[in-house]
Amino acid sequence: MKPKKFIWISMIMILIFLGIQMGVLSQEEVWFNGLEVGAYYRWSVSGGAISMISISVDDMYVEEDYTLYYLTYRDSSRPDGVPLEVNLTWEEDVMLLLENVNISLPNFAIYLWWNASLLEYAKENRTAMEYYNISSIEYRDIMYGFSPRKTIVVQLNDAEILVDMGTGVALYAVIGEVSLSLVETNMIWRHAILLSIILLVILCVLSIVSLRVGIRRRGERK
């Protein structure tokens, strides 16, 4: 077969493949992606009895049909922190992570961590939305520092919560009289894409410089 013919046939094959792919692409479930061991989140709170909440993920224990997460919860009234335990099973859908902890938390705190995958499902399913008392769900792109983030705005009867799609945590929320915002975390890097672009430019410039120096030196040796 001539190379030209071979290339044309291959190109057509790629196009057919792309066509099939575009039609059937799907996403994996997100679950509570921000539940990485070592993850840390801190929210500032205003309008309530407490001014700060922080949660860190200390450990996890994986079994065949469930996973146990060990967290530490701190707020301004409990600065030393209290240990939390969350049991997530594969059998049931859990929308709010902190609804399933073993101790009672301030009412608004349960809205801090969502199952982003289940929220996406509920967006397309009116019954699911009603089941979780959600009045509306919308996607919204925001800038978190210099990083664009995909988020979901969840409206409840007396609350509006901006949920980060990647981690499932609330970035901003107004719940009744209380408003809160995520002020610190090691899971979302505010300047990640910018950092990547800067690194890309630096490495490319260094590549070109070392290439030119390498070629010049070779020329001198000859």
Binding site: P3, I7, I20, Q21, S26, S147, M165, G214
Partner: protein, 267 residues
């Protein structure tokens, strides 16, 4: 002696520096796994951009002609690098950093990862077939038969292992159609690429041997990475920032070295 001489070359030193930097970064993110996805997503596109940029320096001097099979290989490798770079941007910037999603499979990025195989395989095959035709008389019938059978054998064995690992990752569950097509394509393309690589190692000759060798090594690293990825996925051990990604990153650096050799050749 030749190797020691090359190591004094600033570009080779720079490449070694990049490999060491990548290793240090991966050691760090495996000690602090909460940073793994973000850090690997920052590093990956930056490294993948290097072969694309390095070739740009000499693009005007390398003329492209269908008759000049060497130029066909170089240009096709470069097109492959561009497509892979776009795939990395989508995986890292869109899925990891914008969407916050780790290990998105299947995804739009896979279209580019798979798409890049076509120019890479075609470019190598065209040049290797040309080399084979040139040196045909030098090879005995036995050497030729042994070469072809070992190339095809390696492709079939690695393809079979890859396929078994991929199937094992579903643990008896139904495989969605899109993933099934993608899995077949990855296995098939890696197997074909390996056949081309092994045959390439047999016929490698001439002034441009180092450039071809570097491209072959880079492709070999990709195959080892793909099979390791499938193995880790099969046992649920893969995560963004896994040390096996170093193979993939090093393959970009080796590709860039090949383009550097091209730049030296045409200066």
């Amino acid at each position: 002696m030749r190797l020691a001489e090359e190591l004094k070359d600033p570009y080779y030193l720079y490449s070694i520096g990049l490999v060491l930097l990548s290793i240090c970064v991966y050691v760090y993110i495996n000690i602090y796994p909460e940073f793994a996805m973000n850090v690997s997503a920052i590093l990956y596109p930056a490294i993948a951009a290097i072969p694309v940029v390095v070739y740009l320096v000499s693009i005007r001097k390398v003329s492209f002609s269908w008759e000049d099979k060497f130029s066909v290989m170089i240009v096709f490798q470069w097109i492959g690098s561009i497509i892979w770079f776009v795939g990395e941007i989508i995986w890292c910037w869109y899925y990891n950093l914008y969407y916050g999603l780790g290990n998105p499979y299947p995804s739009i990025a896979d279209i580019f990862y798979v798409g890049a195989y076509f120019p890479v395989i075609m470019g190598l095959a065209i040049y290797i077939i040309y080399l084979y035709r040139t040196i045909k008389l030098e090879l005995t019938r036995t050497q030729l038969l042994a070469g072809i059978s070992s190339a095809i054998g390696a492709g079939v064995i690695v393809g079979a292992i890859y396929w078994i690992m991929t199937i094992a990752s579903y643990a008896g569950e139904m495989i969605p159609l899109d993933e099934f097509i993608l899995n077949i394509l990855y296995v098939l393309l890696d197997a074909v690429l390996l056949v081309v690589i092994v045959f390439g190692f047999i016929v490698i000759r001439g002034k441009m041997d180092r450039i071809l060798l570097l491209f072959l090594v880079s492709c070999l690293l990709i195959i080892v990475y793909d099979v390791s990825f499938a193995y880790l996925e099969a046992y649920g051990l893969y995560y963004d920032g896994h040390p096996v990604e170093l193979l993939d990153l090093i393959s970009y650096i080796v590709d860039a070295l090949a383009f550097y050799e091209v730049a030296k050749l045409v200066k």
